[in-house]
């Protein structure tokens, strides 16, 4: 992925659940709601299908931000999938901090099949957030090792 600083545009990946958020994104389309073209969507059956590994790999591959979107709590097509997503995100956020990635680069959102407008808004705002954060350099080859500050270590459950 080409990342010259001058004409850098945020590259976002969206893991959208098939039943709510992907349908919500489709609805944004049928309603002709315009949003920035920075998002590349990967369809998943349920937000709970997203292994944390997918998110990290996307960041390694040059994504500047990752969105995981699913049905609203209580509305999951599979009843409970999004609850696991919600819990998993608590851990992912801390993992990102530990890895030296700004946790704002990875976000979860609940977008229903009826919320085309919300999808438009989420994408637009997320692109802006990432634009402010700048390019993400989380490639395994950059040679940087993140060392958490001393006071962060206990917070992250790290024993040095």
């Amino acid at each position: 992925m080409n990342k010259s600083k001058r004409d850098w545009e945020p590259r976002l990946v969206g893991f959208l659940c098939n039943w709510c958020s992907y349908a919500g994104a489709d609805l944004a389309g049928t309603s002709r709601m315009q949003y920035p073209p920075n998002m590349r969507v990967i369809r998943v059956p349920c937000s709970s299908r997203v292994r944390p590994e997918f998110i990290l790999r996307a960041l390694q591959k040059g994504a500047d931000g990752v969105l995981v979107a699913g049905c609203h709590p209580g509305d999951c097509h599979y009843t409970t999938g999004n609850y696991y997503t919600r819990r998993r995100f608590q851990v992912i956020k801390r993992l990102l901090t530990f890895l030296g990635v700004d946790p704002r680069r990875v976000m979860a959102s609940w977008i229903s099949a009826a919320e085309g407008g919300k999808y438009q808004q989420v994408v637009t705002e997320f692109v802006e957030t990432i634009r402010e954060l700048g390019p993400c350099d989380f490639r395994p080859t950059n040679g940087q090792i993140f060392v958490p500050a001393a006071d962060e270590r206990t917070d992250l459950g790290v024993v040095s």
Binding site: T30, A58, C76, H77
Partner: protein, 657 residues
């Protein structure tokens, strides 16, 4: 060598207007795995599909990417297309160039760049697609209908008439439900019993319907075509095979208990039927109130029973039913007006609910159809009806409209004219909602023929003054406060979900909304399906409904059940989870997160150094698995995978970013 074909659709100008399709095709051709790429005006048209078929054959393609509209639109179409030329239907991926690209971006260059990316992602994914196969499962051709109100009755009769056996499960002594409690129905003023009772008799007599009253569902497991429903049949203490239904026991029983059927206005005995026309018309003993069960004395019913049918030793029975489909028709409760302190909170006997009023005007009710005040038995001269009690009131009740109260209040106003000609009727309302066939006309008649006075405004307070009740209200049309002395107040209480609705939904695995009503699979296109295949909804358990809508939905559910029963075998979902048994360590994190209970364990044997070594691994029941992939995300070793959304496919897409 994998050979991918890419077909870019213009969709007229829908895609081609914003995306340079020729550039997308050119970019696709540069991908090494792409053996063939072309664009069409309309790929989904017969011409477009034929081009795919021809290309698959001439270029020996083994997988296909269609860059067109959303996969939610035409995935099934193109799967059939490639299947018709011998490819496995799952060797297809769709790049969504319309809903998620051309329609949402206006910059041609950026949209084309994104479209090329989307095609690259789809190609990267399709390279890891594997042929998937459905399997078949036998169908148990018996339906279980839960709830014996008009919804359950209609569904059971329709399924039975189609020739399939039905087990109808009802919690109380008799079927009939709420409709049996009503006096007349809007907008025709048909007598509710007169149209319901013949249906109830049909259910009782139908050779294909197995009626289980006084029974409750305890547990449901299994899946479409193969459910197992555990039912607890409570001890009736009466041997119904001997009982003749003469009613002698009920007459002689010395214990009086408030009758559920009379909504608190009447009494029943401890050995009872819900109402005189009950089906089955054979009594049960309420053990919580029967003197024999409380202190061992009495036994009068046994003495007077000439058929020797009374059996105090009966115990609860657990029955397991195997069924292919289930209809949930568990009905509704009425909002409890005790939450309205300003209306007396249940302290004033002459402030009653709409359902109690139904019992008052019913010829078989506690007053034999005469409208009399519960407090002193006087015929009321003025009656006030208050609508939207509980409904459309987030402060006390629920935000939604209960849909039936406007009409049943209009009906009750008409019936006041029939039963107590000289009584004056006032109706307090927020809006009148009379949307239904013949409903508006009926509402107009309530004003013109019955002379009901409609007052727009909420009643702020009710309090007693002597023998009368005083209403403080505001007439918002003339902007004046008013005080009204009346003899009887009827609260049009709204419809709420059954008590225990959530626990029951959890037993069934079906989802429910914020108001505890059961959720349909799609609000527009699948209004009777649930999120669980093979379980359908009928009636007010899904949301407030009047009788015609309930009956329509029940018949729709019956048709859905019959369409399952029209097949000998069901095809399972091909996109389900699979286990790599070589890697699986048997930790069962997958089982903990599986929402459908599709994961079992199995023991693997291996001979190692002459010894039988066993290992426990996970196994997926492909008939139950819904393919959500929670297990694949939770699996620490990567042994779990999902067909169609495998780790390799998704990582393939990620790699192509």
């Amino acid at each position: 060598m994998k050979r991918v074909g890419v077909f870019v659709c213009h969709c007229g100008s829908n895609i081609a207007g914003t995306v340079d399709c020729a550039a997308v095709v050119a970019a696709a051709r540069r991908i090494p795995a792409v053996a063939y790429a072309e664009d069409n005006k309309y790929t989904c048209s017969e011409v477009g599909q034929e081009q795919i078929r021809k290309a698959v054959q001439t270029h020996n393609l083994d997988r296909v990417v269609v860059a067109a509209c959303s996969p939610r639109m035409h995935e099934a179409t193109f799967r059939k297309t490639i299947a018709s030329v011998g490819l496995n239907p799952y060797m297809l991926e769709i790049a969504n160039l319309r809903e998620q690209c051309s329609w949402v971006h206006s910059d041609r260059q950026a949209a084309t760049a994104k479209a090329i990316d989307l095609v690259r992602l789809a190609v990267a994914k399709v390279l890891y697609n594997k042929p998937l196969f459905t399997s078949t499962l036998p169908v148990k051709k018996r339906a279980v209908v839960i709830g014996g109100g008009i919804a359950g009755i209609q569904a059971a009769l329709d399924i039975a008439e189609a020739g399939h056996p039905v087990t109808l499960i009802e919690r109380s002594q008799s079927i009939g439900g709420r409709m049996a409690q009503l006096d007349k129905t809007f907008p025709t003023l048909d007598c509710s019993s007169c149209i319901l009772m013949p249906r109830m008799v049909d259910v009782g007599a139908h050779p294909m319907i197995d009626l289980m009253t006084y029974s409750e569902v305890e547990e449901v497991d299994g899946f479409i075509g193969n459910f197992r429903v555990k039912v607890r049949q409570r001890a009736k203490s009466v041997d119904h095979s001997k009982c003749t239904g003469c009613g002698e026991c009920t007459e002689k029983c010395p214990t009086q208990v408030p009758a559920e059927f009379e909504a608190g206005l009447g009494e029943r005995k401890a050995i009872y039927t819900d109402f005189p026309q009950a089906v089955p018309n054979k009594p049960v003993i309420d053990r919580d109130h029967c003197r024999y069960f409380l202190d061992g004395k009495c036994g009068i019913c046994r003495k007077v029973c000439q058929a020797d049918a009374i059996d105090y030793t009966q115990t609860d029975r657990q029955v397991e039913i195997e069924a292919g489909a289930i209809v949930v028709a568990t009905g509704f409760d009425l909002f409890d007006p005790a939450k309205y302190g300003e209306y007396g909170g249940g302290r004033y006997p002459d402030v009653i609910t709409g359902l109690q009023f139904e019992r008052l005007i019913s010829a078989s009710g506690p007053t034999n159809g005469e409208i009399r005040r519960p407090s002193d038995g006087r015929v009321p001269e003025t009656i006030a009806f208050i609508k939207c009690v509980g409904s459309r009131d987030e402060a006390h009740g629920v935000p939604y409209c209960s849909r039936v109260c406007c009409m049943y209040t209009a009906k009750q106003a008409m019936l006041v004219k029939e039963h107590a000609k000289d009584s004056k009727v006032y109706i307090f309302y927020i809006d009148v909602r009379a949307a239904g066939k013949g409903y508006e006309e009926f509402y107009q008649r309530a004003q013109t023929d019955a002379g009901a006075t409609y007052v727009r405004g909420r009643v702020a307070k009710i309090f007693p003054r002597g023998e009368k009740l005083v209403l403080w209200a505001e007439d918002t049309l003339i902007g004046k406060q008013l005080e009204l002395e009346v003899d009887l107040v009827v609260l049009a209480t709204g419809i709420v979900a059954r008590e225990g609705a959530v626990e029951f939904a959890q037993k069934m695995g079906i989802s429910y909304d914020g108001h505890r009503f059961y959720s349909e699979a799609h609000p527009k296109l699948r209004p009777v399906d649930t999120n669980v295949d093979g379980i359908f909804l009928a009636g007010a358990c899904q949301g407030p409904k009047d009788i015609p809508d309930t009956v329509a939905q029940a018949s729709a559910a019956a048709v859905k059940v019959c369409s399952i029963f029209s097949k000998e075998e069901l095809e399972t979902n091909a996109m389900v989870a699979t286990v790599d048994e070589n890697i699986c360590a048997g930790c069962f994190h997958c089982r903990a997160v599986c929402p459908s209970g599709a994961i079992d364990s199995k023991i693997l044997h291996a001979w190692v150094a002459g010894q039988d070594v066993t290992r426990r691994v996970a196994t997926v029941n492909s008939g139950v698995c819904q393919g959500c992939g929670s297990c694949a995300a939770a699996c620490p070793s990567g042994a779990m995978n999902v067909g169609g959304f495998s780790n390799e496919q998704i990582l393939g897409e990620v790699e192509a970013l």
